[in-house]
Amino acid sequence: MDRHEITEIVTTAVVDGLGAEPDEVTPDATLLDDLSAESIDLLDILFRLERALKVKIQAAQLAEYVQGGIPDEEFGDADEIITEKGLAQLLRVMPQIDPDELRGTLKARRVMSLFTVDNLVDLVIHRMAVDAMEAGTPERAEVPA
């Protein structure tokens, strides 16, 4: 399954999960801010992806994936502002962000609001690759560069 097909399935899941208009759900639309997804909407989207792609992503894994295993105290400083190390990680999973604009101002709890439809596609591809590896079957989805 290629990225294009996965993007289509993710877009459908987001449109159906949010009851959104298809033209609102663009790759660069952020789920929380632009599309106003609530936690139950995210859950709905993840279950739709599970049914469509047999890929299981827990809601809690979304934030874990974004934080990339960096402990909280290294991800944000005492005031919860994202550290350099944190920014470098965010840039890996959300390549669209501009670190210069966010440096010194981005709070940890605002991080998920930057997460876009395209970032979700990356996460799904990542999950599918991990699942395929764990199942020992030949890779069916490419890992994002």
Binding site: I40, D44, F47, E50, R51
Partner: protein, 255 residues
């Protein structure tokens, strides 16, 4: 879509209303897991009865007040019956007393089973139903959750909690194709209410019910069967009263 071929877990399926629900669902081709806490013999005889009528059933032991046991029980049903589509939260107890005399922990003992059981089982089963995008949960609550009765403050509160939970769970589950409803029985002669409905008490209660009689376990089971099946596909968050009109009465209902 039909109900035949689906799998149901019925808590407290060994006796009373629960046993009638097990038989009723099995009659329509549902494979039934008959849960019990202590009445193993009774649960086994429900299973035997279902099998003799050509149905499929198993017994599953477990205290619904215990979250760990509920988790294990849910896995057992899915493993042994190959899935789970319907949950009937029926297990219930009462510990009637005047509030003035009631033991301090009498609220918690009843709450643990009546509401805790509904909570634990719903929490354990819901992810399976959500992953499939289909399913029905039916809570056997009580008209007591909506009305008052002397000596049942703890029981009524536990059923009021079930009713509130039914509405909220319905909201959260709806978009995943899962429906959550409740049946609110009136008076049905079972072990639970034997002290209340036998002898003169029963006579006096019957007089207060517009239908002039107690309900049968089968009548409650029919309502549960309706809410569990595709006939009620647009119903969720509903509290369905099955009480011969008892809760409709204002005061004595006459001068």
């Amino acid at each position: 879509m039909t109900i035949s071929g689906q799998v149901a877990l019925v808590t407290g399926g060994s006796r009373g209303i629960g046993a009638a629900v097990c038989r009723r669902l099995a009659r329509d081709g549902v494979a039934v897991a008959v849960n019990y806490r202590s009445s193993e013999g009774a649960a086994k005889s429900v299973v035997r009865d279902i099998e003799e009528h050509g149905g499929r059933a198993i017994t599953v032991a477990g205290d619904v007040a215990d979250a760990g046991e509920v988790g294990a029980m849910t896995e057992q049903v899915i493993r042994e019956l190959g899935g789970l589509d319907i949950l009937v939260n029926n297990a219930g107890v009462s510990q009637d007393a005047l509030l003035y005399d009631m033991a301090m922990d009498a609220w918690l003992d009843v709450m643990r089973v009546n509401f805790g059981g509904v909570f634990h089982c719903t929490r354990a089963v819901l992810p399976h139903l959500m992953a499939k995008g289909a399913g029905a949960i039916v809570n056997v609550s009580s008209v007591m959750g909506e009305r008052g009765w002397i000596g049942e403050s703890n029981y009524a509160a536990s059923k009021g909690a079930v009713n509130a939970f039914t509405r909220c769970a319905a909201l959260e589950a709806a978009r995943f194709g899962v429906r959550v409803n409740a049946v609110l029985p009136g008076f049905v002669p079972t072990d639970l209410v034997s002290a209340l409905v036998e002898g003169d008490g029963g006579k006096s209660i019957r007089k207060q019910i517009p239908a002039r009689r107690l309900g049968t376990t089968e009548e409650i089971a029919d309502a549960v069967r309706f809410l569990a099946g595709p006939e009620s596909s647009y119903m969720t968050g509903s509290l369905l009263t099955v009480d011969g009109g008892a809760a409709a009465v204002l005061g004595a209902g006459r001068p």
